[in-house]
């Protein structure tokens, strides 16, 4: 599979490069745009794996909705980038140190990558063969049966997030005149229109 291989390396390389640009770009709007490139390439990788549903949902949810809102906020902020960067060098040593420790840990883990032989026996949800069912169906099958509890709980989490956003931001302003559509529609001609006979030179 030469093409798949080439596609994989292109997606992966662009993904990593864009991820580096997300944190190193000077302009935050560019950072967000690079983030979008990241999402795209991640979606591409999912497609290569045969997980087309996840790939599309990644694009729809993250690129189509989340990143748009992100971009909105970043574009409207008036940030002084020089000021933001001032602390950067100061925190670089400690940040770098933590990063290094995590990287070493990761390397160690990868180095000792052993999966216990029993694991395949206890695997939570073995995935069915790709050609047996489409992966939309396969996902749906376990999401609404095995993981229905987590699914419903996630729904509640989103509900709470919605309540939270409304509680913390909604203010009903006094003295604003709002359009009341029912009122507009209920108006009758007799109430607002009167035909008068105006005598010449008499005025109303």
């Amino acid at each position: 599979m030469l093409l798949t291989g080439i596609a994989f390396y292109i997606f992966a390389a662009v993904l990593v490069a864009a991820a580096v640009m997300v944190i190193s770009a000077k302009n935050p709007v560019h950072s967000v745009l690079y983030l979008i490139v990241c999402f795209f390439n991640a979606a591409g990788l999912f497609v290569l794996m045969g997980a087309e549903f996840v790939a599309m949902i990644l694009v729809i949810v993250y690129v189509g909705a989340v990143a748009v809102l992100f971009l909105f906020v970043v574009m409207m902020l008036d940030i002084n980038f020089q000021e933001l960067r001032q602390g950067f060098l100061q925190y670089l040593p400690i940040g770098g140190l933590i990063g290094l420790v995590l990287a070493i840990e990761l390397l160690l883990i990868v180095g000792t990558w052993v999966i216990a032989p029993e694991t395949s026996a206890v695997a939570a949800a073995p995935s069915p063969a790709i050609d047996a069912v489409t992966n939309t169906e396969a996902l749906g099958r376990i999401m609404y049966t095995q993981y229905v509890y987590a699914f419903q709980a996630s729904g509640l989490i989103l509900l709470v997030a919605m309540i939270g956003a409304i509680v913390l931001t909604l203010r009903s302003r006094e003295g604003v005149r709002k359009q009341s559509i029912t009122q507009q529609v209920q108006r009758k001609r007799e109430e607002v229109l009167a035909v008068r006979k105006v005598p010449t030179r008499g005025g109303v």
């Binding site: 709007v29 560019h30 729809i60 189509g64």
Partner: protein, 341 residues
Amino acid sequence: MGEIWTTYGFPGVIIVAQILAVTVPLLIAVAYMVYAERKVLAMMQLRQGPNLVGPWGLLQSFADALKMIGKEMIIPAGANRVVFIFAPVLTMVLALVAWAVIPFDLGWVIADINVGILYLFAISSLGVYGIIMAGWASNSKYAFLGSLRSAAQMVSYEVSIGLVIITVLLCVGSLNLTDIIVAQSGAGGFWGWFFVPLFPMFVIFFISALAETNRAPFDLPEGESELVGGFHTEYSGMTFGLFFLGEYANMILMSAMTTVLFLGGWLPPLEMAPFTWIPGPVWFVLKIAFCLFVFIWVRATLPRYRYDQLMRLGWKVFLPFSLIWVVLTAGVLVAFGWLPD
């Protein structure tokens, strides 16, 4: 060498040919869409419309295109050059790549993927980036305000489009566009198309499509009385031309989506002799043309919405209504055992 040619070269050529076979007619269709819009609007307003370039003005669009290419491309000082030029390109590219999954007839499709409808939805939800990037990169307040409006508008109406698509999917049981059209076929002809059982959803989808393509009466992003040209105020020459082409290509795309989801795609309206003689792609194009006509008709008829009314319609009317309809559809399908397998 020969093996590489048979595994990669030959299929590659076929794919390129397929792509050209879709995009070239599409671009011509865009040109005539512009012409048709001007003509139809003129008729509805008792005017003549373009009538000088070529017979009945038929070559008007090509003259316009030549003019656009010949004009200077001005990049404002203080604009973000790369993003500024990338934005119209993105808009145009997105309007074209979506056609990869549209089936013109049984099997007449470039990529018959399992999640076709999600692909379409994803691509159409990306359209907003071209506009946001254009507005931001122009470094102009009119363009910026226009792009913010447009982004908010598109995100809002995408929600109801998504719910409408879900109702259709419930009735089909597949995300594949060909399957969606096949599910609408039957002896009853157009009685089996989804616009009949899901009529309210059909209406919502079409109105949302108007909003999604920033067309009248939802063309606030470029409301010329307040925002000059909206997000493309600063664009000129071919950069503007790409936005222009992208907008019309998107209209055609949304009409194609309406056709696939609700109007039975390539299916003839009645399964009997004179109708079945006409090949499927012709029916498909005719249905798209009908939808496009309605687009223009709406533009000629309705005044522009105010921004708060637009948001109210999207969030307070369409969203709850389509949500209720999803529940209702699912309930009916389960209760009567009509669920597709």
